[in-house]
């Protein structure tokens, strides 16, 4: 995968499979610390220690021969190749937190990519799940945030379908505008 927003889409699909009702996507870009942190928090069924070991190291073998997934190892690797870190904290029955730390200026760091497409893909595919996307940008004195909360969107829509073309396009532009304002807006 060539964009972090694609990894995010894939990692959030795990949360959905795990029965999450709310998924929080936290992106913090801190230029002063030369750091990009992506955190995915869900309230799904969680993982036991054995599963965490297995996903953190795909070559780790357990007695049971279950199919080894690729999503988490790919995301972890994207962080580690920049000299970053990757953690999973999880509790069965409560939820999971995945944290990927990237060196922001690393030439190996993938671009964040199109978060509007990722959020729309998640939103249109999962009407009964709420998503909270939080993006902060810190550079010098600047410290701004953009928040996209599907619960607020649903409220504004009053039950109307996100798939209605005009509404879909509006949401796409809303997210793009919000993110581009973080980077200083339209020049």
């Amino acid at each position: 995968m060539r964009e972090l927003s694609l990894h995010i889409l894939d990692i959030v699909q795990n949360s959905i499979t795990a029965g999450a009702k709310l998924v929080i996507i936290n992106i913090v870009e801190d230029i002063n610390l030369d750091e990009l942190v992506i955190e995915i928090i869900d309230n799904g069924k969680g993982m036991d220690d054995e599963t965490i070991k297995r996903v953190m190291d795909p070559f780790y073998t357990t007695r049971t021969t279950r199919k080894v997934g690729l999503g988490i190892p790919l995301f972890k690797n994207a962080a580690l190749t920049t000299g970053g870190k990757f953690y999973i904290t999880s509790r069965q029955g409560s939820g999971t937190i995945e944290t990927a730390v990237f060196k922001h200026s690393s030439i190996d760091r993938q671009p964040i990519g199109d978060m509007s497409q990722t959020m729309l893909t998640l939103m249109t595919g999962n009407e009964n799940i709420d998503f909270l996307y939080y993006h902060r940008y810190v550079s010098g004195e600047q410290n701004d945030q953009f928040i996209f909360d599907t619960r607020q969107i649903k409220q504004a829509l009053g039950g109307a379908d996100v798939n209605v073309p005009e509404i879909y396009m509006w949401i796409k532009e809303y997210i793009q505008e919000g993110i581009s304002n973080l980077y200083g807006g339209v020049q």
């Binding site: 694609l6 699909q13 504004a156 073309p165 509404i167």
Partner: protein, 123 residues
């Protein structure tokens, strides 16, 4: 700067369309595979291209949905299209550039683009 109040106003102005969609359940259905294999192969921009093409052409009764891995990972991105009166058609290795043509020829005119179907695409 866009605000959520604007979205609410937009919802009201498209209300008629929304109701129309709900009643008209006999349109085409586009299903895009969105598991790790699909995402890695480029399924997200394909899904987005379908949404935008359908929006552009005002095809109100076409729905786009997502599915998991169907076990043909080497053919991803895979798109299945169900249209009333036609057999299900499975497209393989779909690219966003093909989407306008598939929408026009298959969904609007009822003639599937056989050159892109799974049987005619190389592994």
């Amino acid at each position: 700067m866009k605000s959520l109040a604007e979205l609410e106003a937009l919802r009201k102005s498209t209300l008629e369309k929304i109701n129309l969609r709900k009643e008209d359940g006999d349109g085409a259905r586009v299903v895009v595979g969105m598991a790790t294999c699909g995402i890695a192969a480029g399924a997200r921009p394909v899904l987005n291209a379908f949404m935008e093409e359908i929006a552009k052409r005002n095809l109100d009764n076409v729905t786009v949905t997502q599915t998991g891995c169907i076990g043909l990972c080497q053919y991803e991105p895979i798109v299945e299209i169900y249209t009333p009166g036609l057999e299900k058609v499975t497209y393989a290795k779909v690219k966003p550039e093909m989407v306008a043509q598939i929408v026009t020829e298959h969904i609007v005119n009822g003639k599937p683009c056989s050159q892109y179907t799974i049987g005619n695409v190389q592994k």
